[in-house]
C-alpha cells in the first residue's frame, strides 16, 4: 500500500531534518507521536516501509531495517503511534523509535535477578517487554493508556 510514502510525509520530514540539525537531543519520533513520524523513523534508520495495513481498531506499518530486523509501528485511529514492536538479529534504534520515552527506558532500574534474555519495564505510561538472545531479539514498547479499545495485546508484535 503506497499511500504512506505519499507527499503528506514531506513536510514533517523536512521539519524534522531542520530539528535534527539543531542538535541530537531533539528527536523526531515516534511512540506517542503522530503517524507522520513513521516516515521520519524510516528515513533516520535508512529503512523502507514493507507494508501498511489497516486492521480492526488500528493501522500497522511494517518497516524493514537494514540490520535485517523488522520494526512494526502501530497507529491508533486518533493518528498517534501507540506501540512499536521489533524482531530480528538486532534491536532497532530505540532512541529514534521511542522518542521522548527513550530516556525512561534507558534509565529504568534493573530488575532483581535479571539476566540478559528478558526485560519487562514499566515507567509511568511506558511499558517495554523484550526477550531473546544473540541473533534473535524481539520486543515491544507501548503506552498503556493509548491502546485503542478492543485491541488485543496479543496482536501487538
Amino acid at each position: 500500500m503506497p499511500t504512506f510514502r505519499s507527499n503528506k510525509f514531506l513536510f514533517p520530514v523536512l521539519f524534522c531534518a531542520v530539528l535534527s540539525a539543531l542538535g541530537p537531543n531533539i528527536a523526531c519520533a515516534t511512540l506517542g507521536e503522530a503517524e507522520t513520524t513513521v516516515q521520519t523513523d524510516v528515513d533516520q534508520m535508512r529503512a523502507s516501509i514493507r507494508s501498511s495495513q489497516d486492521r480492526l481498531g488500528y493501522r500497522v506499518h511494517e518497516v524493514q531495517l537494514p540490520t535485517g530486523t523488522v520494526l512494526r509501528e502501530f497507529v491508533a485511529p486518533g493518528g498517534n503511534v501507540f506501540a512499536v514492536a521489533w524482531a530480528g538479529p538486532a534491536k532497532p534504534d530505540l532512541r529514534q523509535t521511542l522518542g521522548k520515552y527513550f530516556d525512561a527506558f534507558a534509565s529504568a532500574p534493573r530488575q532483581n535477578f535479571a539476566d540478559r534474555r528478558h526485560v519487562q519495564i514499566q515507567q509511568g505510561d511506558l511499558i517495554v517487554e523484550a526477550r531473546g538472545h544473540m541473533r534473535a531479539l524481539s520486543g515491544r514498547a507501548y503506552l498503556a493508556s493509548a491502546i485503542p479499545s478492543g485491541v488485543s495485546m496479543g496482536e501487538l508484535h
Partner: protein
C-alpha cells in the same frame, strides 16, 4: 607427551584459578590429549575438559543459576603476558569471548581494519548493550588453545566514546563487572560467529570502525568475534556441558564439566543422545507446552530461569520479583521439544517452585542453584519457551556448531 602437557595445564589451571593475574598460564600448544597409560598424580583432567561452577559470581554480583568457567588469555604469541580470569559466564545463547576490561590486566592489541581504523563492537543484549574494541588474544580453556582469536574487550578505557547508534539500542550499559554480572562471557552456542551478515552488511548494528569517532562497518569474517571453540586446533566441532542434578529446593553451588569437541575423544562420545537440530539463523527449536507449539523456543545456559507464559500460575507479589512465578505448591509440568530435523524429545517435565520462597527467605537465599526458578516470558512475534540453565542440571548437553559433523549428525544442533 600429551599427558605431560596435560599435567602442566592441570597445574597451571589449579595455580591460576583463584588468582586474577597469573603469568605463563597459556604457554602450551594445542593437541589431542586423552592422557598416557600411567595416570600421573595429581590426576589431571583431559585437555578437552575444564571444570565449571554455578555460584554467586564475582564479589557483590549475587547471581543465581549462572554457570562460570576460568579462561586464560595471553597477548598473542606471548607465554608470559598472560592472565587467568575466573567467573567468565558460560553461555550457549551467544557466540564469542567477551572480557570486562576492569577484570583484565593485560593490554590486548586491538584489531585494525584495512584503512587503519580500529575495530569495535556494540554487543546487543535484550536488556542493554556492551561496548568495546575487538582485540586479539591467545585463549586457553582447560588444555585447549585458540591462537590469536578476536575477543571483545568490554568497557575498555581506550574506547569511551560510545556511538549513539549503539547506546540508542537502549537499556543498560553493561560495561562494568557489577552491571554485566560476570568478568566476561564465553559464547559457545551453535554458530561460529556472532553476526550472520556482518561481512557484507555495513549497517549491521554490531561492528564499528573507529578513529576519534566510530561509524558502522562491514568486517571480514576472520576479524569478527568467534565462538573460540571453533578456533581450537582439535575438539572444535562443539561443546558439552555436563552438570550433576541439584536438589529441588536449591543448593549453594554446583560443580561440573565443560568438555570440548563431540565424538573426537573418548570422553565426548554422543552415544544414544537425542539430536535436535536448531534454526540455522536463530538457533531456536520448537517446544510444545500447554497444547501450544512455540517455535521461537531455546535451550540456553545463559538464562537463569525457566521462562514461559502461563497466566494460570500465580505471580510473586513482592514487587522486586513480580515477573517470577510463585505457586502455592510446586507445580510439575510437562513439555516436549522438536528439532528442525523432526526429532522429538517427548515427556519432559520441569517443576515451578515459589520464587519468593527461593529468593528471599533465609537461609535459602544463599542458594545460587535454584532448579525450580521460573518466570514469565514477554510476548514476541512467535511463541517462545526459554529453558535456562536448569535444563542442564542432571544432564549432559551437547551443542554442535553449524556445518560441523559429529557421529550423531551435523550442527547446528543440541543433543542430550
Amino acid at each position: 607427551m600429551a599427558w605431560m602437557r596435560a599435567i602442566k595445564m592441570g597445574f597451571g589451571v589449579v595455580l591460576c584459578i583463584s588468582a586474577l593475574s597469573c603469568g605463563g598460564g597459556g604457554g602450551s600448544s594445542s593437541g589431542s590429549g586423552t592422557g598416557g597409560t600411567t595416570p600421573p598424580p595429581p590426576p589431571a583432567s583431559p585437555a578437552n575438559m575444564v571444570s565449571v561452577i554455578v555460584d554467586a559470581g564475582p564479589p557483590s554480583v549475587n547471581s543465581v543459576n549462572t554457570l562460570f568457567v576460568s579462561v586464560t588469555v595471553c597477548v598473542p604469541g606471548s607465554t608470559t603476558s598472560c592472565q587467568t580470569i575466573d567467573h567468565i559466564q558460560v553461555d550457549t545463547g551467544s557466540y564469542g569471548l567477551r572480557l570486562l576490561a576492569p577484570a583484565l590486566t593485560l593490554t590486548l592489541p586491538v584489531e585494525t581494519l584495512a584503512g587503519g581504523n580500529s575495530l569495535a563492537e556494540c554487543t546487543q543484549f535484550v536488556d542493554g548493550f556492551s561496548w568495546g574494541p575487538v582485540a586479539l588474544a591467545d585463549v586457553t580453556i582447560g588444555g585447549e588453545k585458540a591462537s590469536s582469536v578476536p575477543v571483545q574487550v568490554i568497557g575498555d578505557s581506550r574506547f569511551t566514546n560510545i556511538p549513539s547508534g549503539c547506546s540508542g539500542t537502549g537499556g543498560m550499559e553493561e560495561d562494568t563487572v557489577s552491571k554485566f554480572g560476570a568478568n566476561g562471557i564465553l559464547g559457545i552456542g551453535p554458530f561460529e560467529l556472532d553476526c550472520g551478515d556482518c561481512d557484507t552488511n555495513a549497517a549491521n548494528g554490531f561492528y564499528y570502525s573507529c578513529t576519534t569517532s566510530c561509524t558502522q562497518t562491514a568486517v571480514p569474517m576472520a576479524m569478527q568475534v568467534p565462538n573460540p571453540v571453533t578456533h581450537f586446533a582439535v575438539d572444535n566441532n562443539g561443546s558439552i556441558i555436563d552438570l550433576p542434578a541439584a536438589a529441588a529446593t536449591g543448593v549453594a553451588m554446583l560443580s561440573g564439566s565443560l568438555i570440548f569437541g563431540i565424538d573426537t575423544q573418548t570422553n565426548n562420545q554422543s552415544g544414544t543422545q537425542t539430536v535436535l537440530t536448531v534454526d540455522p539463523m536463530s538457533g531456536d527449536l520448537l517446544i510444545t507446552f500447554n497444547g501450544q507449539t512455540l517455535s521461537n523456543s531455546f535451550i540456553d545456559s545463559g538464562s537463569n530461569g525457566i521462562y514461559f507464559a502461563d497466566s494460570s500460575i500465580s505471580l510473586c507479589t513482592n514487587q522486586s520479583i513480580n515477573t517470577f512465578y510463585c505457586p502455592g505448591n510446586p507445580l510439575t509440568l510437562g513439555l516436549s521439544m522438536q528439532g528442525l530435523n523432526g526429532v522429538m524429545a517427548n515427556n519432559l517435565t520441569f517443576t515451578v517452585g515459589n520464587a519468593q520462597t527461593m529468593l528471599s527467605t533465609a537461609p535459602t537465599d544463599t542458594d545460587d542453584v535454584l532448579p525450580e526458578l521460573a518466570g514469565t516470558l514477554p510476548p514476541g512475534n512467535e511463541g517462545s519457551f526459554d529453558y535456562g540453565l536448569a535444563f542442564f542440571y542432571g544432564r549432559r548437553v551437547a551443542v554442535a556448531v553449524q556445518g560441523d559433523k559429529t557421529s550423531a549428525g551435523t550442527g547446528p544442533y543440541i543433543a542430550f
